[in-house]
Protein backbone atom coordinates (compact mmCIF):
# COMPACT_ATOMS: atom_id res chain seq x y z
CA UNK A 1 0.00 0.00 0.00
CA UNK A 2 1.25 3.46 -0.78
CA UNK A 3 3.31 5.07 1.90
CA UNK A 4 3.96 8.73 1.59
CA UNK A 5 7.75 9.05 1.65
CA UNK A 6 8.61 7.22 -1.58
CA UNK A 7 5.92 8.99 -3.56
CA UNK A 8 6.87 12.38 -2.20
CA UNK A 9 10.59 11.82 -2.77
CA UNK A 10 9.88 11.18 -6.42
CA UNK A 11 7.95 14.43 -6.72
CA UNK A 12 10.90 16.11 -5.06
CA UNK A 13 13.33 14.77 -7.65
CA UNK A 14 11.32 16.01 -10.62
CA UNK A 15 10.64 19.39 -9.01
CA UNK A 16 14.30 19.83 -8.18
CA UNK A 17 15.33 18.98 -11.72
CA UNK A 18 12.81 21.45 -13.11
CA UNK A 19 14.09 24.15 -10.78
CA UNK A 20 17.69 23.45 -11.72
CA UNK A 21 16.89 23.57 -15.39
CA UNK A 22 14.91 26.76 -15.16
CA UNK A 23 17.10 28.60 -12.66
CA UNK A 24 20.64 27.35 -13.12
CA UNK A 25 22.26 30.58 -11.99
CA UNK A 26 23.67 31.10 -8.56
CA UNK A 27 23.79 34.14 -6.29
CA UNK A 28 21.78 37.27 -6.92
CA UNK A 29 20.78 36.21 -10.39
CA UNK A 30 19.18 33.03 -9.05
CA UNK A 31 15.71 34.09 -10.03
CA UNK A 32 16.49 34.84 -13.64
CA UNK A 33 15.19 31.92 -15.67
CA UNK A 34 17.87 30.63 -17.99
CA UNK A 35 16.80 27.26 -19.31
CA UNK A 36 19.27 27.55 -22.17
CA UNK A 37 22.09 27.11 -19.66
CA UNK A 38 20.26 24.78 -17.35
CA UNK A 39 19.24 22.17 -19.86
CA UNK A 40 21.55 19.55 -21.23
CA UNK A 41 20.18 19.55 -24.75
CA UNK A 42 21.89 21.27 -27.62
CA UNK A 43 19.67 22.98 -30.17
CA UNK A 44 21.39 21.31 -33.03
CA UNK A 45 21.19 23.39 -36.17
CA UNK A 46 21.66 26.59 -34.15
CA UNK A 47 24.44 25.41 -31.91
CA UNK A 48 26.76 22.50 -32.35
CA UNK A 49 28.48 20.13 -30.05
CA UNK A 50 32.18 19.69 -30.62
CA UNK A 51 32.98 16.00 -30.89
CA UNK A 52 36.17 14.80 -29.19
CA UNK A 53 39.32 15.02 -31.28
CA UNK A 54 39.52 11.28 -31.63
CA UNK A 55 35.93 10.98 -32.80
CA UNK A 56 35.67 8.78 -35.87
CA UNK A 57 33.55 11.07 -37.97
CA UNK A 58 34.85 10.59 -41.46
CA UNK A 59 38.03 9.41 -43.11
CA UNK A 60 40.19 12.03 -44.79
CA UNK A 61 42.74 11.25 -47.48
CA UNK A 62 46.15 12.89 -47.73
CA UNK A 63 46.54 12.18 -51.35
CA UNK A 64 50.22 13.04 -51.70
CA UNK A 65 51.04 10.20 -49.34
CA UNK A 66 48.95 7.58 -51.04
CA UNK A 67 50.79 5.08 -53.18
CA UNK A 68 47.78 3.05 -54.22
CA UNK A 69 49.24 0.05 -52.42
CA UNK A 70 45.76 -1.43 -51.92
CA UNK A 71 46.38 -2.39 -48.30
CA UNK A 72 43.39 -0.48 -46.99
CA UNK A 73 41.12 -1.78 -49.69
CA UNK A 74 42.15 -5.35 -48.95
CA UNK A 75 41.78 -5.10 -45.21
CA UNK A 76 38.40 -3.43 -45.31
CA UNK A 77 35.82 -5.77 -43.78
CA UNK A 78 33.04 -4.26 -45.85
CA UNK A 79 34.82 -4.04 -49.16
CA UNK A 80 33.94 -0.38 -49.41
CA UNK A 81 37.21 1.17 -50.58
CA UNK A 82 37.82 1.26 -54.31
CA UNK A 83 41.26 2.17 -55.55
CA UNK A 84 42.67 2.35 -59.03
CA UNK A 85 46.11 3.54 -59.93
CA UNK A 86 48.75 3.42 -62.62
CA UNK A 87 52.46 3.80 -62.85
CA UNK A 88 54.13 6.75 -64.53
CA UNK A 89 57.70 7.74 -65.12
CA UNK A 90 58.95 10.64 -63.03
CA UNK A 91 62.11 12.67 -63.38
CA UNK A 92 65.03 11.80 -61.09
CA UNK A 93 65.30 13.52 -57.71
CA UNK A 94 68.71 15.00 -58.43
CA UNK A 95 70.93 15.45 -61.41
CA UNK A 96 72.44 12.27 -62.73
CA UNK A 97 69.80 10.09 -61.16
CA UNK A 98 67.75 7.56 -62.96
CA UNK A 99 64.20 7.99 -64.10
CA UNK A 100 61.87 6.70 -61.40
CA UNK A 101 58.64 4.92 -61.79
CA UNK A 102 55.92 6.26 -59.56
CA UNK A 103 52.38 5.17 -58.59
CA UNK A 104 49.59 7.62 -59.30
CA UNK A 105 46.16 7.29 -57.73
CA UNK A 106 43.41 7.55 -60.29
CA UNK A 107 40.53 6.65 -58.09
CA UNK A 108 40.14 6.52 -54.37
CA UNK A 109 36.49 6.11 -53.39
CA UNK A 110 35.05 5.23 -50.03
CA UNK A 111 31.45 4.16 -49.98
CA UNK A 112 30.17 5.60 -46.72
CA UNK A 113 26.91 3.80 -47.18
CA UNK A 114 28.81 0.59 -46.54
CA UNK A 115 31.53 1.83 -44.23
CA UNK A 116 31.25 0.59 -40.65
CA UNK A 117 33.69 3.19 -39.31
CA UNK A 118 35.98 0.56 -37.86
CA UNK A 119 39.16 2.40 -38.73
CA UNK A 120 41.10 -0.62 -39.91
CA UNK A 121 42.08 1.17 -43.13
CA UNK A 122 43.51 4.09 -41.17
CA UNK A 123 45.54 1.73 -39.03
CA UNK A 124 46.95 -0.42 -41.80
CA UNK A 125 48.02 2.50 -43.97
CA UNK A 126 51.84 2.38 -43.91
CA UNK A 127 52.27 5.83 -45.46
CA UNK A 128 50.09 8.05 -43.27
CA UNK A 129 47.66 8.78 -46.04
CA UNK A 130 44.40 8.19 -44.15
CA UNK A 131 43.23 10.09 -41.08
CA UNK A 132 40.16 10.26 -38.95
CA UNK A 133 38.44 13.59 -38.52
CA UNK A 134 35.51 14.40 -36.24
CA UNK A 135 33.64 16.06 -39.11
CA UNK A 136 30.14 14.61 -39.26
CA UNK A 137 27.97 16.82 -41.45
CA UNK A 138 28.03 15.00 -44.75
CA UNK A 139 24.70 13.26 -44.95
CA UNK A 140 23.14 12.95 -48.38
CA UNK A 141 19.57 12.54 -49.54
CA UNK A 142 20.49 9.66 -51.82
CA UNK A 143 22.38 6.64 -50.68
CA UNK A 144 24.42 6.56 -53.87
CA UNK A 145 25.76 10.03 -53.13
CA UNK A 146 27.56 8.66 -50.10
CA UNK A 147 30.25 7.29 -52.36
CA UNK A 148 32.89 9.97 -51.89
CA UNK A 149 35.83 10.35 -54.21
CA UNK A 150 39.41 11.38 -53.54
CA UNK A 151 38.74 15.08 -54.03
CA UNK A 152 36.06 15.14 -51.36
CA UNK A 153 38.16 12.96 -49.09
CA UNK A 154 41.13 15.29 -49.50
CA UNK A 155 39.04 18.32 -48.57
CA UNK A 156 38.39 16.77 -45.19
CA UNK A 157 42.12 16.78 -44.54
CA UNK A 158 41.75 20.38 -43.38
CA UNK A 159 39.55 19.29 -40.48
CA UNK A 160 41.92 16.68 -39.09
CA UNK A 161 42.82 17.73 -35.54
CA UNK A 162 46.27 17.34 -34.01
CA UNK A 163 46.88 14.09 -32.16
CA UNK A 164 46.33 14.35 -28.43
CA UNK A 165 48.91 14.16 -25.69
CA UNK A 166 48.85 11.09 -23.51
CA UNK A 167 48.30 10.66 -19.80
CA UNK A 168 51.49 10.25 -17.76
CA UNK A 169 52.75 6.70 -17.71
CA UNK A 170 52.14 6.15 -21.37
CA UNK A 171 54.91 5.00 -23.65
CA UNK A 172 53.10 5.90 -26.82
CA UNK A 173 54.60 8.54 -29.09
CA UNK A 174 52.40 11.40 -30.15
CA UNK A 175 52.02 11.34 -33.91
CA UNK A 176 51.92 14.35 -36.19
CA UNK A 177 49.38 15.24 -38.80
CA UNK A 178 50.96 16.24 -42.12
CA UNK A 179 50.15 19.80 -43.02
CA UNK A 180 47.57 20.29 -45.68
CA UNK A 181 48.83 21.29 -49.05
CA UNK A 182 52.55 21.07 -48.36
CA UNK A 183 54.66 18.21 -49.45
CA UNK A 184 57.50 18.46 -47.01
CA UNK A 185 56.00 15.52 -45.19
CA UNK A 186 56.00 12.61 -47.53
CA UNK A 187 58.75 10.23 -46.57
CA UNK A 188 57.55 7.30 -48.51
CA UNK A 189 55.52 9.11 -51.03
CA UNK A 190 55.50 7.94 -54.54
CA UNK A 191 56.79 4.56 -53.69
CA UNK A 192 59.63 3.99 -55.99
CA UNK A 193 59.06 0.93 -57.94
CA UNK A 194 61.58 -0.76 -60.13
CA UNK A 195 64.53 1.49 -59.32
Amino acid sequence: MPQLPGLLKGLGVTARTAARTLFPKRGIRTLIPAPQQGSVTVQYPHEKEAPPDRARGVIALHEENCTACMLCSRSCPDWCIYIEGHKVKAPPRRAGGAVRSVNVVDRFDIDYALCMYCGICVEVCPFDALFWTPEYEYSEPHIADLLHDRIRLSEWMETVPEFLDYEPGSEQKVRKVPEFGTDDFAPARKLEAGS
Partner: protein, 342 residues
Protein backbone atom coordinates in the same frame (compact mmCIF):
# COMPACT_ATOMS: atom_id res chain seq x y z
CA UNK B 1 -28.86 36.45 -15.64
CA UNK B 2 -30.40 36.34 -19.08
CA UNK B 3 -31.23 40.01 -18.93
CA UNK B 4 -27.83 41.05 -17.65
CA UNK B 5 -26.91 43.13 -20.64
CA UNK B 6 -30.42 43.35 -21.89
CA UNK B 7 -29.71 40.92 -24.70
CA UNK B 8 -32.13 38.57 -26.26
CA UNK B 9 -31.75 34.92 -25.42
CA UNK B 10 -30.38 33.99 -28.80
CA UNK B 11 -27.86 36.80 -28.78
CA UNK B 12 -26.60 35.96 -25.36
CA UNK B 13 -26.40 32.31 -26.20
CA UNK B 14 -24.37 32.95 -29.29
CA UNK B 15 -22.01 35.18 -27.36
CA UNK B 16 -21.59 32.50 -24.74
CA UNK B 17 -21.06 29.89 -27.40
CA UNK B 18 -18.47 32.05 -29.09
CA UNK B 19 -16.64 32.62 -25.83
CA UNK B 20 -16.73 28.92 -25.00
CA UNK B 21 -15.43 28.02 -28.45
CA UNK B 22 -12.51 30.35 -27.92
CA UNK B 23 -11.89 29.55 -24.28
CA UNK B 24 -11.80 25.77 -24.53
CA UNK B 25 -9.18 25.39 -27.27
CA UNK B 26 -7.18 28.22 -25.72
CA UNK B 27 -7.31 26.47 -22.36
CA UNK B 28 -6.21 23.22 -23.96
CA UNK B 29 -3.39 24.94 -25.79
CA UNK B 30 -2.25 26.77 -22.70
CA UNK B 31 -2.14 23.68 -20.52
CA UNK B 32 -0.59 21.70 -23.30
CA UNK B 33 2.16 24.24 -23.85
CA UNK B 34 2.84 25.08 -20.23
CA UNK B 35 2.79 21.64 -18.74
CA UNK B 36 2.91 19.00 -21.44
CA UNK B 37 5.70 20.67 -23.36
CA UNK B 38 7.60 23.08 -21.19
CA UNK B 39 7.26 21.80 -17.65
CA UNK B 40 7.86 18.23 -18.70
CA UNK B 41 10.95 19.34 -20.59
CA UNK B 42 12.33 21.20 -17.60
CA UNK B 43 11.67 18.25 -15.32
CA UNK B 44 13.75 16.19 -17.70
CA UNK B 45 16.61 18.69 -18.11
CA UNK B 46 15.46 19.55 -21.59
CA UNK B 47 14.38 22.76 -23.25
CA UNK B 48 11.20 21.75 -24.95
CA UNK B 49 10.12 23.31 -28.24
CA UNK B 50 12.08 26.41 -29.17
CA UNK B 51 11.65 27.12 -32.81
CA UNK B 52 7.97 27.80 -33.47
CA UNK B 53 7.13 31.22 -32.11
CA UNK B 54 8.92 32.85 -29.20
CA UNK B 55 10.08 30.10 -26.82
CA UNK B 56 8.13 27.63 -28.92
CA UNK B 57 4.76 29.02 -27.86
CA UNK B 58 3.15 28.26 -31.19
CA UNK B 59 4.35 24.68 -31.33
CA UNK B 60 0.97 23.20 -30.53
CA UNK B 61 -0.72 25.29 -33.18
CA UNK B 62 1.83 24.04 -35.67
CA UNK B 63 1.10 20.51 -34.48
CA UNK B 64 -2.61 21.07 -34.88
CA UNK B 65 -2.09 22.28 -38.43
CA UNK B 66 0.00 19.21 -39.10
CA UNK B 67 -2.70 16.93 -37.75
CA UNK B 68 -5.33 18.65 -39.87
CA UNK B 69 -3.29 18.02 -42.99
CA UNK B 70 -3.06 14.32 -42.36
CA UNK B 71 -5.20 11.77 -44.06
CA UNK B 72 -8.20 10.50 -42.14
CA UNK B 73 -7.60 6.76 -42.05
CA UNK B 74 -10.02 4.07 -40.99
CA UNK B 75 -8.95 0.52 -40.26
CA UNK B 76 -10.56 -1.77 -42.83
CA UNK B 77 -12.47 -3.75 -40.25
CA UNK B 78 -13.54 -0.73 -38.20
CA UNK B 79 -17.14 0.06 -37.41
CA UNK B 80 -16.96 3.29 -39.33
CA UNK B 81 -19.79 5.28 -37.87
CA UNK B 82 -18.87 4.51 -34.28
CA UNK B 83 -15.21 4.99 -35.07
CA UNK B 84 -15.90 8.47 -36.39
CA UNK B 85 -18.27 9.44 -33.62
CA UNK B 86 -16.03 8.40 -30.73
CA UNK B 87 -13.67 11.41 -30.59
CA UNK B 88 -16.63 13.76 -30.95
CA UNK B 89 -18.33 12.15 -27.96
CA UNK B 90 -15.19 12.51 -25.91
CA UNK B 91 -14.72 16.13 -26.88
CA UNK B 92 -18.39 16.92 -26.34
CA UNK B 93 -18.14 15.62 -22.82
CA UNK B 94 -15.38 18.06 -21.98
CA UNK B 95 -17.19 20.91 -23.75
CA UNK B 96 -20.30 20.25 -21.69
CA UNK B 97 -18.26 20.42 -18.50
CA UNK B 98 -17.43 24.05 -19.21
CA UNK B 99 -21.10 24.99 -19.18
CA UNK B 100 -21.43 25.15 -15.42
CA UNK B 101 -18.02 26.45 -14.44
CA UNK B 102 -18.45 29.82 -12.72
CA UNK B 103 -15.70 32.35 -13.16
CA UNK B 104 -17.40 35.39 -11.62
CA UNK B 105 -20.67 36.41 -10.04
CA UNK B 106 -22.30 36.55 -13.46
CA UNK B 107 -19.58 35.11 -15.63
CA UNK B 108 -20.97 31.65 -16.09
CA UNK B 109 -22.49 30.02 -19.12
CA UNK B 110 -25.42 28.52 -17.27
CA UNK B 111 -25.83 28.63 -13.54
CA UNK B 112 -27.59 25.31 -13.02
CA UNK B 113 -29.06 24.52 -9.62
CA UNK B 114 -27.70 20.99 -9.85
CA UNK B 115 -24.40 22.16 -11.28
CA UNK B 116 -22.08 19.71 -9.61
CA UNK B 117 -24.41 16.83 -10.32
CA UNK B 118 -24.50 17.82 -13.95
CA UNK B 119 -20.70 18.14 -14.10
CA UNK B 120 -20.18 14.68 -12.67
CA UNK B 121 -22.72 13.25 -15.08
CA UNK B 122 -21.31 14.73 -18.28
CA UNK B 123 -17.73 14.00 -17.33
CA UNK B 124 -18.56 10.29 -17.35
CA UNK B 125 -19.71 10.57 -20.93
CA UNK B 126 -16.14 10.67 -22.11
CA UNK B 127 -15.68 7.06 -21.09
CA UNK B 128 -18.48 6.16 -23.43
CA UNK B 129 -16.49 7.73 -26.23
CA UNK B 130 -13.37 5.88 -25.15
CA UNK B 131 -15.24 2.61 -25.13
CA UNK B 132 -16.66 3.36 -28.56
CA UNK B 133 -13.19 4.11 -29.86
CA UNK B 134 -11.79 0.96 -28.32
CA UNK B 135 -14.50 -1.23 -29.72
CA UNK B 136 -14.85 0.30 -33.15
CA UNK B 137 -11.15 0.33 -33.96
CA UNK B 138 -11.13 -3.44 -34.53
CA UNK B 139 -7.78 -3.59 -32.86
CA UNK B 140 -6.90 -5.80 -29.92
CA UNK B 141 -4.83 -3.19 -28.20
CA UNK B 142 -7.60 -0.62 -28.58
CA UNK B 143 -10.14 -3.10 -27.27
CA UNK B 144 -8.07 -3.85 -24.20
CA UNK B 145 -7.64 -0.13 -23.64
CA UNK B 146 -11.34 0.53 -24.01
CA UNK B 147 -12.25 -2.23 -21.57
CA UNK B 148 -9.74 -0.98 -19.08
CA UNK B 149 -11.24 2.50 -19.38
CA UNK B 150 -14.69 1.10 -18.67
CA UNK B 151 -13.45 -0.76 -15.63
CA UNK B 152 -11.73 2.34 -14.44
CA UNK B 153 -14.87 4.44 -14.87
CA UNK B 154 -16.86 2.35 -12.44
CA UNK B 155 -14.04 2.19 -9.97
CA UNK B 156 -13.37 5.92 -9.98
CA UNK B 157 -16.70 7.62 -10.58
CA UNK B 158 -17.75 6.43 -7.16
CA UNK B 159 -14.97 7.96 -5.04
CA UNK B 160 -15.13 11.07 -7.22
CA UNK B 161 -18.79 11.60 -6.47
CA UNK B 162 -18.44 10.59 -2.85
CA UNK B 163 -15.61 13.09 -2.42
CA UNK B 164 -17.84 15.80 -3.84
CA UNK B 165 -20.59 14.78 -1.42
CA UNK B 166 -18.60 16.13 1.51
CA UNK B 167 -18.42 19.53 -0.16
CA UNK B 168 -22.09 19.46 -1.03
CA UNK B 169 -23.05 18.62 2.56
CA UNK B 170 -20.92 21.43 3.86
CA UNK B 171 -22.14 23.98 1.33
CA UNK B 172 -25.77 22.88 1.50
CA UNK B 173 -26.07 23.14 -2.23
CA UNK B 174 -25.42 21.42 -5.54
CA UNK B 175 -25.10 24.77 -7.25
CA UNK B 176 -21.50 25.67 -7.96
CA UNK B 177 -22.09 29.38 -7.35
CA UNK B 178 -23.56 28.54 -3.98
CA UNK B 179 -20.53 26.40 -3.20
CA UNK B 180 -18.27 29.36 -3.96
CA UNK B 181 -20.48 31.59 -1.85
CA UNK B 182 -20.41 29.13 1.03
CA UNK B 183 -16.64 29.24 0.95
CA UNK B 184 -16.54 33.02 0.69
CA UNK B 185 -18.91 33.53 3.54
CA UNK B 186 -17.54 30.79 5.72
CA UNK B 187 -15.13 31.51 8.49
CA UNK B 188 -12.42 29.60 10.26
CA UNK B 189 -12.87 29.79 14.03
CA UNK B 190 -14.45 33.18 13.71
CA UNK B 191 -11.78 34.47 11.31
CA UNK B 192 -13.59 35.24 8.12
CA UNK B 193 -11.23 37.37 6.09
CA UNK B 194 -10.23 34.71 3.59
CA UNK B 195 -13.48 32.85 3.92
CA UNK B 196 -13.29 29.11 4.32
CA UNK B 197 -11.81 27.33 1.30
CA UNK B 198 -13.07 23.80 1.65
CA UNK B 199 -9.59 22.40 1.16
CA UNK B 200 -9.11 23.11 4.86
CA UNK B 201 -12.17 21.30 6.15
CA UNK B 202 -12.42 18.81 3.34
CA UNK B 203 -8.76 17.96 2.89
CA UNK B 204 -9.43 14.23 2.67
CA UNK B 205 -12.15 14.95 0.17
CA UNK B 206 -9.72 17.06 -1.85
CA UNK B 207 -7.13 14.28 -1.92
CA UNK B 208 -9.68 11.70 -2.99
CA UNK B 209 -11.05 14.07 -5.60
CA UNK B 210 -7.60 14.68 -7.04
CA UNK B 211 -6.73 10.98 -7.12
CA UNK B 212 -10.04 10.10 -8.72
CA UNK B 213 -9.71 12.96 -11.17
CA UNK B 214 -6.28 11.65 -12.13
CA UNK B 215 -7.92 8.33 -12.94
CA UNK B 216 -10.81 10.01 -14.71
CA UNK B 217 -8.36 11.92 -16.88
CA UNK B 218 -6.36 8.73 -17.49
CA UNK B 219 -3.18 10.40 -16.40
CA UNK B 220 -0.32 8.43 -14.89
CA UNK B 221 -0.42 6.58 -12.44
CA UNK B 222 -3.84 5.55 -13.76
CA UNK B 223 -3.23 5.72 -17.50
CA UNK B 224 -3.78 2.03 -18.20
CA UNK B 225 -6.31 2.71 -20.97
CA UNK B 226 -3.58 4.54 -22.88
CA UNK B 227 -0.47 2.77 -21.55
CA UNK B 228 1.97 3.58 -24.34
CA UNK B 229 4.43 0.86 -23.46
CA UNK B 230 1.84 -1.90 -23.15
CA UNK B 231 -1.09 -1.02 -25.36
CA UNK B 232 0.77 1.41 -27.59
CA UNK B 233 -1.76 4.15 -27.02
CA UNK B 234 -4.73 1.95 -26.12
CA UNK B 235 -8.06 3.17 -27.40
CA UNK B 236 -6.64 5.81 -29.75
CA UNK B 237 -4.02 3.60 -31.34
CA UNK B 238 -5.83 3.58 -34.69
CA UNK B 239 -6.63 7.28 -34.83
CA UNK B 240 -4.76 9.72 -37.00
CA UNK B 241 -5.10 13.25 -38.18
CA UNK B 242 -7.77 15.50 -36.79
CA UNK B 243 -9.60 12.71 -34.98
CA UNK B 244 -6.52 12.10 -32.93
CA UNK B 245 -6.31 15.84 -32.43
CA UNK B 246 -9.82 15.77 -30.97
CA UNK B 247 -8.77 13.12 -28.48
CA UNK B 248 -5.73 15.11 -27.55
CA UNK B 249 -7.67 18.33 -27.15
CA UNK B 250 -10.32 16.58 -25.08
CA UNK B 251 -7.69 15.13 -22.80
CA UNK B 252 -6.12 18.48 -22.04
CA UNK B 253 -9.40 20.40 -21.96
CA UNK B 254 -10.86 17.91 -19.50
CA UNK B 255 -7.79 18.30 -17.34
CA UNK B 256 -8.48 22.03 -17.40
CA UNK B 257 -12.13 21.53 -16.52
CA UNK B 258 -11.36 19.21 -13.65
CA UNK B 259 -8.79 21.63 -12.29
CA UNK B 260 -11.49 24.27 -12.48
CA UNK B 261 -13.93 22.04 -10.63
CA UNK B 262 -11.36 21.41 -7.91
CA UNK B 263 -10.76 25.16 -7.72
CA UNK B 264 -14.43 25.91 -7.37
CA UNK B 265 -15.09 23.25 -4.80
CA UNK B 266 -11.95 23.32 -2.70
CA UNK B 267 -9.96 26.46 -3.33
CA UNK B 268 -12.62 29.14 -3.01
CA UNK B 269 -13.32 29.53 -6.72
CA UNK B 270 -13.17 32.97 -8.28
CA UNK B 271 -13.84 34.95 -5.09
CA UNK B 272 -11.11 37.31 -3.93
CA UNK B 273 -10.86 37.95 -0.19
CA UNK B 274 -11.89 41.48 0.72
CA UNK B 275 -14.36 41.92 -2.13
CA UNK B 276 -18.08 41.95 -1.87
CA UNK B 277 -19.37 38.63 -3.20
CA UNK B 278 -21.51 40.23 -5.89
CA UNK B 279 -19.13 43.03 -6.84
CA UNK B 280 -19.37 43.40 -10.64
CA UNK B 281 -15.62 43.96 -10.87
CA UNK B 282 -15.20 40.31 -9.97
CA UNK B 283 -16.63 39.44 -13.36
CA UNK B 284 -13.31 40.66 -14.70
CA UNK B 285 -10.94 39.79 -11.86
CA UNK B 286 -12.64 36.47 -11.08
CA UNK B 287 -11.55 34.72 -14.27
CA UNK B 288 -7.96 35.80 -13.67
CA UNK B 289 -7.98 34.45 -10.13
CA UNK B 290 -9.61 31.28 -11.36
CA UNK B 291 -6.97 30.86 -14.02
CA UNK B 292 -4.14 31.14 -11.52
CA UNK B 293 -5.74 28.59 -9.23
CA UNK B 294 -6.54 26.28 -12.13
CA UNK B 295 -2.95 26.36 -13.31
CA UNK B 296 -1.84 25.50 -9.80
CA UNK B 297 -4.11 22.47 -9.64
CA UNK B 298 -3.22 21.43 -13.18
CA UNK B 299 0.43 21.73 -12.25
CA UNK B 300 -0.09 19.11 -9.56
CA UNK B 301 -1.94 16.83 -11.97
CA UNK B 302 0.84 16.98 -14.54
CA UNK B 303 3.60 16.92 -11.96
CA UNK B 304 2.30 13.58 -10.76
CA UNK B 305 1.90 12.42 -14.31
CA UNK B 306 5.54 13.02 -15.15
CA UNK B 307 6.85 11.48 -11.97
CA UNK B 308 5.00 8.28 -11.29
CA UNK B 309 4.89 4.91 -12.94
CA UNK B 310 1.49 3.42 -13.65
CA UNK B 311 -0.40 0.86 -11.64
CA UNK B 312 -1.74 -2.39 -12.97
CA UNK B 313 -5.46 -2.59 -13.66
CA UNK B 314 -6.20 -4.99 -10.80
CA UNK B 315 -4.07 -2.98 -8.41
CA UNK B 316 -6.00 0.12 -9.37
CA UNK B 317 -9.31 -1.62 -8.72
CA UNK B 318 -8.06 -2.83 -5.37
CA UNK B 319 -6.93 0.66 -4.50
CA UNK B 320 -10.25 2.16 -5.50
CA UNK B 321 -12.52 -0.33 -3.78
CA UNK B 322 -10.48 -1.08 -0.72
CA UNK B 323 -9.01 2.32 0.06
CA UNK B 324 -10.65 5.21 -1.70
CA UNK B 325 -14.31 4.27 -1.41
CA UNK B 326 -14.24 3.38 2.31
CA UNK B 327 -12.20 6.49 2.94
CA UNK B 328 -14.62 8.75 1.11
CA UNK B 329 -17.58 7.13 2.85
CA UNK B 330 -15.91 7.78 6.18
CA UNK B 331 -15.33 11.35 5.05
CA UNK B 332 -19.03 11.78 4.34
CA UNK B 333 -19.97 10.34 7.72
CA UNK B 334 -17.58 12.64 9.55
CA UNK B 335 -18.72 15.66 7.56
CA UNK B 336 -22.34 14.76 8.27
CA UNK B 337 -21.71 14.44 11.98
CA UNK B 338 -19.98 17.81 12.09
CA UNK B 339 -22.76 19.36 10.05
CA UNK B 340 -25.39 18.10 12.47
CA UNK B 341 -23.41 18.84 15.62
CA UNK B 342 -22.11 22.30 14.71
Amino acid sequence: MTDLLGLAYWAETSIKLGVALIVIPTAALMLGYLFLLKMMAFMQSRLGPQDVGPYGTLQLIADAVKFLQKEDIHPAAADRRVFRAAPVVVLASSFLLFVVLPTGPDAVVENLDTGIFYAMAVSSLSVLGVLMAGWASANKYALLGGLRAAGQLIAYELPLILAVMGVVIQADSLNLQQIVRAQAEGEIFGFGLIGNPFILTQFVGFLIFMIAAQAELTQTPFDMPVAETELVGGFHVEYTGFRFLLFFMAEVATAFAFSALATVMFLGGWWIPGFDFDAPVLNVLGPVVMLVKILLVAFIIFWIRFTYPRLREDQLQKFAWKVLIPLSLANIVVTGIFKVVL
